[in-house]
């Protein structure tokens, strides 16, 4: 089987951790940052928690392992000051988006980039090992794939079955902007057997093929019915930065806070419209959703449309104007009577 991993350097968390701590300590030492955003060890296995270091001593808590999936750029809208931040390739797209939206200033940041070897999808791994995510005992990157041990049994999975879907489509494992880049360069765990899967537009077409409108609505109505409106998707989203969200606006009240299908429909589609061109399909909303609503399907539909209609990809080009802040005379017009 073609895996593409043979020529890839081994991901060495200890080395990255050492380098990262040294860079952060230097930044604090030189007085260049007031805060440093990194990861610390989570309280449960295979989870890494965001760390907001306020002083040099906090840096001892920095932890790097195979699970630094959280997109730290979401904190930038809340923390003010000079900030050091660790980002992966996909997170760097969120940073570019925020810069484009003029939400943050480049000079306020020292960006420490990590080239990302791909992030495990614990739900997928648990499914493959036929156990609950909590029962996973060991997960190892190997040359032939990913080894999972649970309940005393072992299984080696091909890489597409072990990583987050977004990683299988990743084109930017290496951060697009950074001040310091930590050692190691990786390629995304792209599914070489099935190259079409790397393209959201193709997989969308496959998914929609032969589906009638009522069938699609039946699917989405069921998804909207399940939403409890906890707003976790909004809170974790780096692209959602309004100081006051329209769902909390009550004079007039545009969207009722009651989790009914209708208001959930308005909420989710409106949120998507608000992040048009800023959403980088980083997948945090779907990962965080307690009800398992497949929000990435919406994000990737949007991404595919922006690519097709306006040749726009969110968060990759600082100079290209946001798609809804510009227009061309030859934009699509055939849907208008």
């Amino acid at each position: 089987m073609k895996m593409g991993s043979q020529d890839m350097p081994e991901f060495t968390p200890e080395k990255i951790k050492e380098e990262l701590t040294a860079v952060a300590a230097r930044l604090f030492g030189e007085g260049k940052v007031d805060y440093f955003l990194a990861y610390e060890k989570g309280t449960v296995p295979f989870k890494t928690t965001p760390l907001i270091a306020r002083k040099k001593e906090d840096l001892q808590r920095i932890w790097v392992d195979d699970y630094f999936v959280a997109n730290l750029s979401v904190y930038l809208k809340e923390i003010r000051g000079r900030i050091g931040i660790v980002i992966k390739g996909c997170d760097s797209r969120s940073l570019v988006s925020l810069l484009k939206e003029e939400q943050i200033k480049r000079e306020d940041f020292h960006i420490v980039g990590i080239s990302c070897p791909g992030q495990f999808d614990l739900r997928k791994l648990a499914r493959a090992a036929a156990c609950d995510p909590e029962e996973l005992e060991e997960i190892l990157r190997t040359s032939s794939g990913v080894l999972v041990r649970a309940n005393g049994r072992e299984k080696t999975l091909p890489r597409p079955q072990a990583f987050l879907d977004k990683c299988l489509r990743c084109r930017y494992p290496k951060p697009l902007i950074f001040d310091t880049l930590l050692s190691g360069e990786y390629v995304a765990p792209v599914d070489l057997e099935n190259p079409g899967a790397a393209d959201p537009a193709t997989s969308l077409k496959d998914e929609l093929r032969g589906k009638t409108l009522p069938e699609r609505w039946a699917f989405w109505a069921e998804q909207f019915d399940r939403c409890i409106r906890c707003y976790a998707c909004r809170n974790v989203c780096p692209a959602c930065f309004c100081p006051r969200c329209i769902v909390e606006e009550n004079q007039p009240q545009w969207v009722s806070p009651l989790p009914t299908r209708g208001d959930n429909f308005v909420f989710h589609l409106m949120r998507l419209m608000h992040v048009t061109g800023t959403c980088t399909s980083c997948g945090e909303c779907e990962r965080i959703c307690p009800m398992g609503i497949p929000l990435m399907k919406l994000n990737e539909k949007m991404a595919a449309d922006l690519k097709e209609l306006f040749d726009f990809m969110a968060g990759v080009d600082l100079d290209k104007p946001l798609p809804l802040r510009t227009y061309r005379q030859e934009d699509p017009n055939d849907f208008i009577k």
């Binding site: 499914r127 399940r226 009651l258 009914t260 308005v266 419209m273 227009y327 061309r328 934009d331 009577k337």
Partner: protein
């Protein structure tokens, strides 16, 4: 007269309720011209006047559907004719994205339609309203949210781990 045939009659004579969001400079004036030219058109539309098609937040359209309107028509000035130079060009980008999204989640594109109608096109306005009314009538009432319940309703199936 008995109540039952009355109700059946009512059901059969269902007429769609359509929200028409019209720009103040072109389409609204066009609708005025339709009236002053004594051209008749289906009385299904409720007109909402906005300063410019660029003022149309996609939220207006979503909310109209949520409130049970059977169809929405958004109309503004022809490209190049915008009173504010580019409001309709900007709006067009939002509209194309929204209409594709609505289709993606399974809402028939004929429920939410768009048009350019100038102040001199009274006949076009009548024609478009007739078309939209015919389309929406063929689609039937907006039952997208019929039978909706609260997500936390204990009688609804447990959602936990559904996607894991």
């Amino acid at each position: 007269m008995e109540a039952k045939p009355e109700m059946e009659k009512k059901e059969k004579s269902w007429d769609p309720k359509i929200l028409a969001i019209l720009c103040r400079w072109c389409s609204y004036a066009g609708a005025d011209l339709t009236g002053s030219s004594r051209i008749s058109y289906p009385p299904n539309v409720r007109i909402l006047r906005v300063p410019c098609s660029g003022r149309v937040d996609p939220l207006f359209i979503l909310k109209a559907l949520r409130l049970g309107l059977d169809g929405v028509l958004v109309s503004g000035c022809h490209p190049g004719d915008c009173h504010y130079t580019a409001g309709n060009y900007n709006a067009r980008r939002k509209f194309v994205i929204l209409s594709r999204l609505l289709e993606y989640v399974g809402i028939d594109p004929r429920r939410v339609q768009f048009s350019w109608v100038s102040a001199s096109e009274g006949d076009k306005f009548a024609k478009i309203v007739s078309e939209v009314a015919r389309d929406v009538k063929a689609l039937g009432p907006n039952h997208l949210f019929r039978g909706e319940s609260l997500a936390l309703d204990p009688s609804s199936p447990s959602p936990s781990r559904q996607n894991q």
